[in-house]
């Protein structure tokens, strides 16, 4: 069934879209898009280390992302620099370290383009298993912590005062975010993963009116982007990651239409 590389890519991509839907909503609600970007940049270092020590790529990227998230929390306590400055600092320092290390390991051939933009050709049956099992675990955890996470997203103090323990769950959320980046790096690439997190969620916001609806529509738009994007990339022989993102942004533009119309009707 998964003999064909294209089927493998499709199944993996749909799996990823199902996870990025809800997490993407949380990312835009919490204004964390640049945080996602930082984790994705640091993923390059994770991949390099995976090659250097022959580790599983997803595992290595996950560990590095988690370390970066903890570093950020630590830095925030030590300095009064704004969050976006700290994120920029972490993103580009890890990217640079990753690239330097990569040069050092010249004996190994890196597919830089594949790393940055994703490569459908390289998706294996193990990748499918990883995405679907890993994704399932992420979604189950997310389901159980949703209420706490969501209430803390609306108002941290209120959630804290009413015993929702937002500190703990924010930490778990960060780890889940690291997890989804680790799972999708091969498919979509480090530079574009934030796009798959944010664009379907943003498009979904334009056409929905409650949180649950927004999550489900974000998943649908993600699946559509992946499916149409992959077919396009096959047809036009373009890279898979960018093709998926281009379709997502087209869907986003379409989602603006009902918003415009509603605005006009109200006038």
């Amino acid at each position: 069934m998964f003999d064909d590389f294209f089927t493998r890519a499709l199944v993996t991509g749909i799996g990823i879209a199902i996870i990025t839907g809800p997490l993407g909503c949380l990312v835009i609600w919490r204004r964390l898009s640049y945080f996602g970007d930082t984790l994705a940049h640091s993923a390059l270092l994770g991949v390099t280390l995976a090659y250097a020590f022959s580790l599983n790529i997803a595992f290595s990227v996950f560990v590095i992302s988690a370390v970066i998230a903890l570093l950020l929390l630590n830095l925030q306590k030590r300095t009064r620099l704004a969050g976006d400055s700290l994120l920029g600092l972490l993103a580009h320092s890890t990217l640079a370290i990753g690239l330097v290390l990569m040069g050092y390991l010249s004996s190994i051939r890196f597919d830089i383009m594949g790393l940055l933009f994703g490569d459908i050709l390289s998706v294996t049956v193990e990748d499918i298993a990883l995405v679907w099992i890993g994704g399932f675990i992420i979604l189950v955890i997310l389901y159980f912590i949703w209420k706490s996470l969501f209430s803390a997203t609306v108002n941290f103090d209120l959630a804290f005062a009413e015993g929702m323990q937002p500190n703990v769950y924010n930490m778990i959320f960060t780890l889940l975010l690291a997890g989804v980046i680790a799972l999708s790096i091969k498919m979509i690439g480090t530079l574009l993963i934030t796009g798959l997190l944010i664009i379907p969620a943003a498009a979904s916001r334009n056409i929905t009116n409650n949180p649950k609806q927004m999550v489900f529509v974000a998943i649908l738009i993600g699946i559509l982007s992946v499916t149409i994007g992959l077919f396009t990339s096959l047809e036009l022989n373009t890279s898979s990651g960018p093709s998926i993102i281009v379709i997502a942004i087209i869907l986003f533009i379409i989602s603006l239409i009902p918003l415009e119309l509603r605005g006009k009707l109200q006038k």
Binding site: N155, A159, A161, E162, T208, N209, N210
Partner: protein, 247 residues
């Protein structure tokens, strides 16, 4: 002995330090079941800080806070909900508890905004939003309710309305209420205990005692403190059941 069991929260000589100064210091207060305790004071006097200590959002840097209940509801002073999050009133009502539609309607009904059930939070007026905030807090059936300026942005009639609701909550739910308020009028007429803050406790006690306190008059100005508490006057006559006056 039963009064001991009714104790919900107890601050003892508590203070919060935020470099380079103490936001509040030396606060001792108690809230008991069925009691409304009000914090008053000028801006920056530490009212919200004190409320946050009671909620354990802030830990006291000196002194202690002891709380004897976990059933808490909170109406924060400020709450901004970004447009990126689509949120209906009903979703907001279920933020920290699981309520069915009936329970949601019932609570919204209590604050007079049942018709807003399916409205987007972003479309509400300031007054409507305050009513929804209060409804959400009531719906939790808390033992301790902390209200940080719950009537801000509400028009005059609405204000009276909301304060009546607050009075009823403390009676119906038999919960303790810690109220942060600017409204000396309500404070003096309906509160059991007033704590007057200005970086520390200026004075505290029953409203009738407070208005005679020098520290209170100094803080709020003689004119304001008198005019706003005009109906704390002593009656020099009583009404008979038929309305006639007898001395």
């Amino acid at each position: 002995m039963s009064s001991k069991n009714n104790l919900l929260v107890n601050l003892e000589n508590a203070g919060v330090y935020k470099s380079p100064k103490w936001l509040i210091r030396g606060v001792s207060l108690e809230v008991r079941r069925g009691q409304i305790v009000t914090l008053i004071g000028p801006n920056g006097s530490g009212k919200t800080t004190t409320a946050k200590m009671v909620l354990s959002i802030l830990e006291p840097d000196e002194g202690s806070m002891k709380r004897y209940t976990d059933k808490i509801a909170y109406v924060p002073q400020k709450i901004n909900i970004d447009w990126t999050m689509p949120l209906r009133v009903v979703d907001f009502m279920r933020l920290t508890n699981n309520l069915n539609d009936n329970e949601v309607s019932e609570s919204l009904n209590q604050t007079g905004v049942e018709k807003l059930f399916k409205e987007q939070i972003h479309g509400l007026s300031g007054g409507e939003f305050q009513r929804v905030l209060l409804a959400r807090a009531i719906a939790k059936k808390p033992e301790l309710l902390v209200l940080d300026e719950p009537v801000q942005g509400v028009d005059f009639n609405g204000e009276i309305d909301l304060y009546n609701i607050i009075k009823n909550i403390s009676a119906n739910l038999n919960c303790g209420i810690l109220l942060v308020s600017h409204d000396l009028h309500f404070v003096m007429s309906a509160t059991d205990h007033v704590v007057c803050l200005n970086g520390h406790i200026c004075c505290s006690g029953k409203p009738s005692a407070i208005i005679k306190d020098k520290a209170y008059i100094e803080l709020f100005g003689e004119h304001r403190s008198k005019t706003l508490t005009y109906y704390q006057h002593d009656h020099d006559h009583t009404h008979n059941s038929d309305g006639s006056v007898s001395n």
